[in-house]
């Protein structure tokens, strides 16, 4: 349960008693004029938050590189579901340039032909393929190996 400290004046100097163990249990909420204005969290929670934000920004930047071929795939999907359902297709410069039932063979061929050009390889299905990776995704405390 988070504790709340009410700040009577935002500019005033306050003396707060911070206990590491308490902060590990719950954040300390600072309130002013009846509104929560800030939270003090443990340094571990802060590092976890920063790591998550870094990861999200990095991931979005990588996914952004898939455009516009990703958008082309979405545009072509209704037709591809009739002609290539269950197959993997490679989209380059907005067009299907190759297809295969095995994405790894397709990727090999595409990279042999186009080098490291930005190509979108995807299975022709209504939904994205999914995988399970039960190990925690964001690990920030880890023995250096």
């Amino acid at each position: 349960m988070a504790k709340t400290v009410t700040l009577k004046e935002a500019q005033a100097a306050y003396s707060l008693s911070l206990h590491k163990l308490d902060l590990e249990q719950a954040p300390l909420i600072l309130e002013h004029n009846g509104e929560p204005v800030a939270a003090i969290i443990s340094i571990e929670d802060y590092r976890r938050l920063v790591a998550r934000q870094d990861d999200d920004a990095w991931r979005q930047e990588q996914l952004q590189r898939l455009e516009p071929n990703r958008a082309a795939f979405q545009r072509l999907l209704p037709e591809l579901l009739k002609t290539h359902k269950g197959q993997f297709v490679a989209i380059y410069k907005g067009e299907v340039v190759d297809s295969d039932s095995d994405d790894q063979e397709l990727a090999k061929r595409v990279m042999a032909n186009l080098g490291d050009e930005l190509v979108y390889i995807q299975k022709v299905e209504e939904e994205l393929p999914s995988f399970e990776v039960p190990s925690p995704e964001v690990v920030i405390y880890h023995a250096p190996l």
């Binding site: 590189r65 990703r70 990279m111 939904e127 995988f131 990776v133 995704e137």
Partner: protein, 124 residues
């Protein structure tokens, strides 16, 4: 015969593997944790950056808490225990080591001896 990595708690089966860019042939050696729970191999974001890999697709990845995240897909060549696997589909995460998933481990005979903290990874 390989030894478990004892600097992690509890000790876990780790291998140094080589990850190779399929076009530039740029190569990095990196520690990989053998993860039979993962259906897909995961590279650290730092390794993706170091190899300058280009994303080639995307997939939904479900974490240990069932939370779904859309992540980029890459294709790389791997050198694992002396065996080369080409054009392996992988994803990425902000973690220090590689997770070697069942997509790769199922190419091998893997024998874990937790009591002795040793394991064997052999090609049939």
């Amino acid at each position: 015969m390989h030894r478990y990595e004892t600097r992690v708690r509890p000790p876990a089966p780790f291998l140094e593997i080589q990850v190779i860019h399929p076009v530039t042939a740029g190569t990095r050696q990196w520690p990989a944790k053998l993860d039979t729970g993962a259906t897909l191999t995961i590279l650290p974001e730092a390794l993706v950056d170091a190899l300058v890999l280009s994303p080639k697709g995307e997939a939904t990845i479900y974490g240990y808490d069932g939370m779904a995240t859309i992540r980029p897909i890459y294709y790389v060549n791997l050198q694992v225990a002396g065996y080369r696997l080409s054009s392996v589909r992988v994803s990425s995460s902000k973690r220090p080591d590689i997770l070697l998933g069942r997509d790769v481990l199922n190419h091998f005979i893997l024998t874990l001896n937790g009591k002795d903290l040793t394991f064997e990874l052999q090609d049939p």
